[in-house]
Subunit: 138 residues, 2 copies
DNA sequence: GTAATTCCTCTAGTCACTAGAGCTTCAAGA
DNA sequence: TCTTGAAGCTCTAGTGACTAGAGGAATTAC
């Protein structure tokens, strides 16, 4: 049996975040001590580690709820879990693609400024005039 | 002179977002018609385009305020503008690096599942057991 | 026994918007 | 000129995933 602080140290999830996850239904409300403090066991630790891991991988709260629900039914087909993961992968790839376009544009903007004053600063001019951009990062 | 709707169509910034930018001080409060509706001119259009462009590039509101402030002083040295842009570039690069680590891990998770039920689904097992992960994406 | 630490609940703030209610103004056609 | 429907106005509240702080109670270490 450990306290919320112990659980926090073991999982790397901050104390208020654990309480928030409980409120959101990602982890079950645990037993309480006589003085009304939360007391956790091994099962809760594993569940929280699962949640933390899924969050680290960028899954949203709703996805995680669905994955937890699924993990409680080991006999069901796992197509749904697969598709949640595949969607997350697609969304990560999209974000990477978008950020790479930004990177290209920012490189051009941030490294081309050889003016000394704002008046001829390439950063400012590029922001003022979208036409100076190489591609359509919008 | 155009209305907020015209401005929205010309810049691609939604009407409530324009009002929000005004509230945040990113664009100046414009003249009003007799009936209290906003009336914009060319200058406001350019300013909003600047803001939109900077937002598209991922700059935060505070950065944009600073860049606008700078662009109003063409005689000052532009080192500050450069450093804002350089910081933004660094932050974009960091995000890309992080997302790539996630991508690698998600690829492993999402493509390795050849089980038929949740019980032996690799997605669920991988989330339960961080030790299955190749690298430290946390 | 006491002092320091940790815990509790509750509210409110973050960022950059977005949605909706309830009302007024504007522009175009009859 | 009248009417109708779109577009405008302000204000409040909601989004996601936390984070911060107030004010007080419980636990733990010495």
């Amino acid at each position: 049996m450990f306290s919320i602080g112990d659980l926090s140290r073991r999982t790397g999830v901050k104390v208020p975040t654990i309480r928030y996850y409980e409120q959101m239904g990602l982890v079950a409300a645990p037993e309480r001590s006589d003085g009304n403090q939360r007391r956790y066991g091994r099962q809760e630790l594993e569940r929280l580690a699962f949640v933390r891991h899924a969050r680290d991988l960028g899954f949203g709260v709703d996805d995680i709820r669905a994955l937890i629900e699924l993990s409680g039914h080991p006999d069901q087909p796992c197509g749904h879990a697969d598709s949640i993961a595949a969607e997350q992968l697609a969304s990560v790839r999209e974000k990477i693609a978008r950020l790479k376009r930004l990177e290209t544009e920012l490189e051009r903007i941030a490294t081309c400024c050889d003016g000394k004053t704002v008046g001829d600063c390439y950063v400012i001019r590029a922001l003022s005039d979208h036409a100076l951009c190489a591609d359509d990062h919008a």
